[in-house]
């Protein structure tokens, strides 16, 4: 009998508002992975950090007429994924402008540590 132990998957979300068609996929994949009992962490980095801004998450759509990005983020969270965002040195963040679904603002060093520890790392 094959044992199917839980795997940890780190998804680096580097896509942002300049490429809306690419923005929903990381969260949908995270939902499916979490539904298969993987431990999933989504890490917003680079332009992807913009997706944590509430005004962006509520308005950005991967396809015209589709659900806003926040819908996909909430699905991923509901399935059990963690959502982290890269702390950007020198950039002042007003927590009130960020989505409530964000679990943590994290450092680059913590990201490096996760890359070394996780079984799978995807960049989307």
């Amino acid at each position: 009998m094959e044992h199917n132990d839980s795997q940890r998957v780190l998804i680096l979300v580097a896509s942002g508002p300049s490429t809306p068609a690419r923005c929903a996929a990381p969260f949908h994949i995270a939902t499916l992975l979490a539904c298969m009992d993987a431990g999933v962490t989504l890490y917003l980095t680079g332009e992807g950090t913009q997706l944590a801004r509430r005004e962006v998450a509520e308005s950005l759509r991967a396809v015209e007429g589709g659900e806003p990005l926040l819908h996909f983020i909430r699905n991923a969270k509901q399935a059990g994924a963690r959502l982290l965002m890269c702390r950007q040195p020198g950039v002042q963040l007003d927590p009130a402008t960020l989505i409530a679904e964000l679990d943590e603002i994290s450092s680059g060093g913590e990201l490096a540590q996760m890359i070394l520890e996780y079984e799978r790392v995807l960049t989307l």
Partner: protein, 154 residues
């Protein structure tokens, strides 16, 4: 048995918390599928992706993923066991689950661990009615919604 307009065959066992039915096979395995209530909750199913045959499924862990209109959900197993078979037909035609959830739309076959010890946790037919009705009540289930009507019209 009929609960709020939805059919639940008397010959099957049920896991009401998971909206699943279980059928005991002669070889000791269990065939598992989504109940009509599960279909009503999900609506039109776009995909069912099971875990690989041979996988050991722990109790309350996923045996697959169900994708529907606006989201996806884990299909959690109400008991531990080994995945013996998956319904390959669903890969091409996932809508079979909606169309014939107690027949061609079965999902997986499992060899249960210690079935004798857990068997009575899954009431047979009419004995499951109260638990299914309670589940519906807790979910604020609306028998008038469109998905339920579609199931009634089949």
């Amino acid at each position: 048995m009929n609960v709020h307009g939805l059919e639940f065959p008397d010959s099957l066992r049920y896991a009401p918390e998971h909206s699943l039915w279980l059928r005991e096979e002669a070889d000791g395995s269990l065939t598992i599928g989504l109940t009509a209530y599960g279909c009503a909750l999900y609506g039109q199913i776009f995909a069912f992706t099971p875990k690989r045959v041979g996988a050991r499924i722990e109790r309350e862990r996923s045996f697959g993923v169900v994708e529907f209109a606006k989201a996806a959900s884990s299909a959690r197993s109400p008991l531990a066991g080994e995945l013996l078979a998956v319904n390959e037909a669903l890969l091409e035609r996932p809508a079979l689950i909606n169309q014939d959830c107690y027949g061609d739309g079965w999902m997986v076959r499992l060899r249960p661990e210690d079935w004798g010890a857990v068997r009575e946790e899954f009431p047979l037919g009419k004995a499951a009615e109260a638990a299914i009705a309670e589940r519906m009540r807790l979910d604020n289930f609306d028998p008038a919604n469109a998905h339920v009507q579609a199931l009634r019209w089949k």
